[in-house]
Symmetry: C2
Subunit: 126 residues, 2 copies
DNA sequence: TTATCTGTATTAATCATATAATACAGCGTA
DNA sequence: TACGCTGTATTATATGATTAATACAGATAA
């Protein structure tokens, strides 16, 4: 577990975002155990309360659940996971559209740029 | 001049963003005068120092210039304006790619979503 | 010359965030 | 039973970014 934090956003938000991405990319199994608050805090060199806040957000969003005083687990609700994926994608698309709205770029040109960047990135991953 | 501010981002950043969009969409002519710090502050109901900070950012980015103690003006450097447009677009595309990276969405599906949203938005503008 | 605009600079106050220090309760196990 | 893990909650403090208050200097016009 490692996150490169930026200074702009709150740490707990970035932790949540990281977990969302991990979950959405299928790196966790349904019901898989995640690190305890204190252990996560140790790993990421953050305050346990910050870890707690991140987990609380995720719990309220239904992404994780906690039974008794055992470490929290990834939700087993597949619908929640599908929704997460959809929200990540649609949110990203919405932001793109909003950002280019004032620029008046033709749709074809925009798509060309996206394809180029997409391929470029896929290449880097290999 | 009117901006609907969100609570998330600093006001001066949002002011800069607004001007960038206005400039990129061609709503200003080269060398056109913009409101004074104090007048902008009045219009937007913000503190004059916040307006000053926004203008300072824009001046450092080369988007506006100030001569003596006259109101600032939009740059006359067309290259700066072309760069601005390019940066807005490429920044938006980069953020999109980064956001969907963990989701493993096929490029065709992504493009389909973008086209749909784009058309939808163009429809609303009319 | 006085008033009123400019832009600019300095300092103070505010606010959200992050950190920190503690405490409490439940559970498993040595 | 006692220890060491869990999660959770409360309160206080520190910090940094943002915003606000105030002052100053130059220019223009009544």
């Amino acid at each position: 577990m490692k996150i490169t934090f930026n200074k702009r956003d709150p740490v707990y938000i970035q932790v949540v975002q990281h977990f969302k991405e991990q979950i959405a990319s299928g790196k966790y199994e349904l019901g898989q155990e995640i690190p305890s608050r204190r252990e996560l805090a140790n790993q990421l060199k953050i305050n346990p309360n910050t870890a707690q806040r991140a987990y609380k957000e995720m719990e309220e969003a239904g992404l994780i659940f906690t039974e008794g005083n055992n470490p929290s687990r990834i939700t087993k609700d597949e619908q929640v996971l599908r929704n997460l994926r959809t929200e990540l994608i649609e949110g990203a698309v919405d932001r793109l559209i909003a950002a280019v709205e004032p620029v008046n770029i033709p749709i074809d040109e925009l798509i060309g740029l996206i394809q180029a960047k997409y391929e470029e990135q896929r290449g880097e991953q290999r």
